[in-house]
Amino acid sequence: MSHPALLLRDAIAGARAELEARYDVLVDSTVWAWSGGAVHVEGSVLVAAQADAYQRAIQDALDPDRPLNSWPRPAVLADLSTPFYLQTWGRIRSGTVVDLYRGPEGDDLQTQWTEAAMVRVFLRRDAGRTLVQLPDGTVGWMDSQLVGGGGTQPSSDPWRRYVRPHVGRPIDPRSGTLSGVARIARARLGRPYRWGGNRREAADCSGFVQSVLYEGAGILLPKNTRDQMRKGVRVAAPAVRSGDVLFVRGRSKNLMHVGLVLPGSDDPDLTHGGGTVIHSCLSRGSVIEEPIDEFLDIYRFTGARRIVAWPGLELQ
């Protein structure tokens, strides 16, 4: 029987080879060792899937009966809870519009950022694109020329100022009112749909919801629709009401879509559903508002979340 140190070495090598084949670019500074009868790891990986792969490989090699999560796990840089001092930081200056792409090349836009901010820098390149994480948690590639502040490390967490939604319960708004959110959202009616966008001028469905709730409530949602669907608390279809975020998908295609429920003109106290849904609609090419019943005739109900706890709208 091989020594555990050799089994560990081979398991790590195998997992790393699989990861290198899976990702175009691998951010991985892990160093693994067998010492004192146990596995030790230093360093970090970029995403949870990498840490998962290492844990599975070690479990398979050393003790398949031992629970997966009992094995050492490297720090995951893209995890929002990872301490700021483990990160490398860059700066986006005020007035800059950042387009964040899925890859180091190509035009597959996944989100944008339009205010001064510190970003986590995972892979800096002098030319082309640099791999970063924006404050909303999105990881992607942005123009290297727009990432400033190389080598300067903050003395406290630069992202502490952002208020993020809870999981399992709604969060109090940092500012604003639901009526104010409705005004902000309706001021964007007719503005064009843009795939990956989240600006006032043009946004996709999840970018529209993210942008409106950030501007109107001070709550920073993730950009991705499926990530948004994991925030706040579940609301059953009959209990949906103003302020809820409504998730649907096409009836002919399993493509996720999201909109924001607003009070209708016959619901001035904002206390019940039956209002409207405002959303940035790919097929119509712009932000539109329509009665919730018509919206749910067009799309299949997929879920609803109460992400913000608006004052006066207690859970029913």
């Binding site: 795939w195 499926r226 669907m229 994991r230 579940r234 059953a236 279809a237 009959p238 998730f247 998908r249 295609k253 399993n254 493509l255 996720m256 299949r300 109900f301 997929t302 879920g303």
Partner: protein, 54 residues
Amino acid sequence: MSDPNLPCTECGQSVAVPSDATPGELVICDHCGVELEVTSMDPPAVAVFEEEEK
């Protein structure tokens, strides 16, 4: 009425399906994080949800 529990079709762990869930609604497995579509409520059944490419 308590929520029915079903095995996650991905990891096999127990997943609570809300008793007022609507077929087509997604629930998330707390153990493996996979999204499961409620395919029926009579009897309750779930299947792994896969989003189509854009």
